[in-house]
Amino acid sequence: MTEVPLTAIVAKNPIDAELNRSSQRSRRLRQRDLVLGIATPVILLVLWQIASSTGLIDAKIFTPPTTIFSTAITLIHNGVLTHDLGITSLRLVVGFVLGGAAGIVVGILLGIFRTLRAAFSPLFSALYAVPQIAVLPLLLVIFGIGETPKILTVAAVSFFVLEINAMAGVRSIDPQLIEAGRAYGARGRRLFWHVLIPGTLPAIFTGLRVAAALALVVVTATEFVAANSGLGYLVWNSWQLFEPNEMYVGLITIALVGVILTGIVELVARRVMPWSRRNARD
């Protein structure tokens, strides 16, 4: 009597149990990874705090995290941090968006038209090889000490990175896809919007990720030398005044700006290219 249900259990159970075990195992591993990812920096911070408050490391240079935190609060209250954050974000976003948009348009055009590519591509590659920050003095001569030269350096680096990536993107579209588009009746403008642009998007977003990181480097460097406001100025100025705790606040804020900017790019990428998200997950 018990034999019938028993065989049923034997037939079903080992597989179910194994499936269960493996899903539990992978969930446990995911949780452990998450805990490790958070715990490691927290532990390091605690060690830093202990080391600098006990005098194991020089607290004047390696300001304890709690002091950095209270400095940050002060800087927010007196408006210094928010002002610097605002002005840096403005330079960064305006330069990144304008330069990036121009770079995408020009890159796509160069990718499509051989004549344009032959005329401009070598020139742009040569110009890109000049570090954008090195052109800053020239821009200062031309535009004076206003916002324009700072935004332009950010725009320049964004432009070149996107021009190069968008052009490469157009050129690396699988010719079979173009052919398939044509064969199914997409010509001219329709081929452009329905095949060429979606085919170029992955390369454009690669460019945006790179450009976001470089733009932050450039805006910080610009503010080191040619500004009296902004997060770069905050860091540079605290070095000159020997205020390491303010420097740390500046550095952390710059890092946060970078994280947010790349986060936005990533979010838009997922929105605009749902197909690559699935691919990445597999």
Binding site: Q176, A180, G181, A183, Y184, G185, A186, W275, N279, D282
Partner: protein, 260 residues
């Protein structure tokens, strides 16, 4: 009725010659090839690799132009392609991939989704409408590209080694599907393949091409009755025809090896 249809040509190619330039050197790919596709016929084109059979298919389809010779299409001829590597749009879902041709033809959303859905079901992809091609298996991608072609209700279907990238089991399944779909719809088909079995099993006639520069070496009618199944591969007529083609191709392949 079928008798009358047999006389109606859809594509007529006369003395097609094609020269390619690669690395500054001219290569003669096709040399004075004649080909006529009758309405409702299934023509298989087989030949050694590099003999220009894909080029011929592309010229027939009008996406490549011949260096010399004439190509005539019947009036308002609708052509659909099934490409070698499927050439599916990775940024479109299964449904949107199928609907692409209709969208370009200006069919409204509701109508094109209805017709696409029908073909998605016919090729067995129901439930995958919102999936992107990257997440599909090779066989499913192939079915998708077949649905994308059929949904446009073409007069002619041009297939360029459609099973080239599939494993043997999947290939057999899709061949059976193709036989069934073709016998239901009786589209005019030109199939480029390197599989002799496939050429005979699907075709009304098998055209054997020579090595490069490609010419039509033999045009062999397939006398097997329809509906056909995979079991016809054991039919004596199948075996005899296969043997003939193997001999034809063998000479060509040997010759192309020697000339290398």
């Amino acid at each position: 009725m079928t008798g009358g249809d047999q006389d109606e040509w859809l594509v007529r190619a006369r003395e097609i010659t094609k020269v390619f330039t690669t690395h500054g050197r001219g290569v003669l790919a096709l040399n004075e090839v004649d080909l006529t596709l009758q309405r409702g016929s299934f023509t298989s084109l087989i030949g050694p690799s590099g003999c220009g059979k894909s080029t011929l298919l592309r010229i027939v389809g009008g996406i490549e132009s011949p260096s010399q010779g004439t190509i005539e299409h019947a009036q308002s001829l609708k052509i659909a392609f099934v490409f070698q590597d499927h050439a599916l749009f990775p940024w479109l879902t299964v449904l949107d991939n199928v609907a692409f041709g209709l969208k370009m033809a200006g069919v409204d959303t509701k109508e094109r989704n209805r017709r696409s859905q029908l073909w998605i079901e016919r090729v067995g992809l129901a439930g995958f409408e919102k999936t992107f091609p990257n997440a599909l298996s090779g066989g499913m991608r192939q079915r998708l590209s077949i649905a994308r072609a059929f949904v446009t209700e073409p007069d002619i279907l041009l297939m360029d080694e459609p099973m080239g990238a599939l494993d043997e089991q999947t290939r057999l399944l899709i061949q059976e599907d193709l036989i069934r779909l073709w016998e239901e719809t009786r589209k005019t088909v030109l199939l480029v393949t390197h599989s002799i079995d496939e050429a005979i099993l699907l075709g009304d006639q098998v055209m054997v091409m020579s090595r490069r520069p490609g010419r039509i070496k033999a045009s062999l009618p397939v006398s097997l009755e329809r509906p056909r199944t995979l079991h016809d591969m054991a039919d004596p007529r199948f075996v005899t025809l296969k043997d003939t083609i193997i001999n034809d191709l063998h000479d060509e392949v040997m010759a192309s090896m020697e000339s290398r």
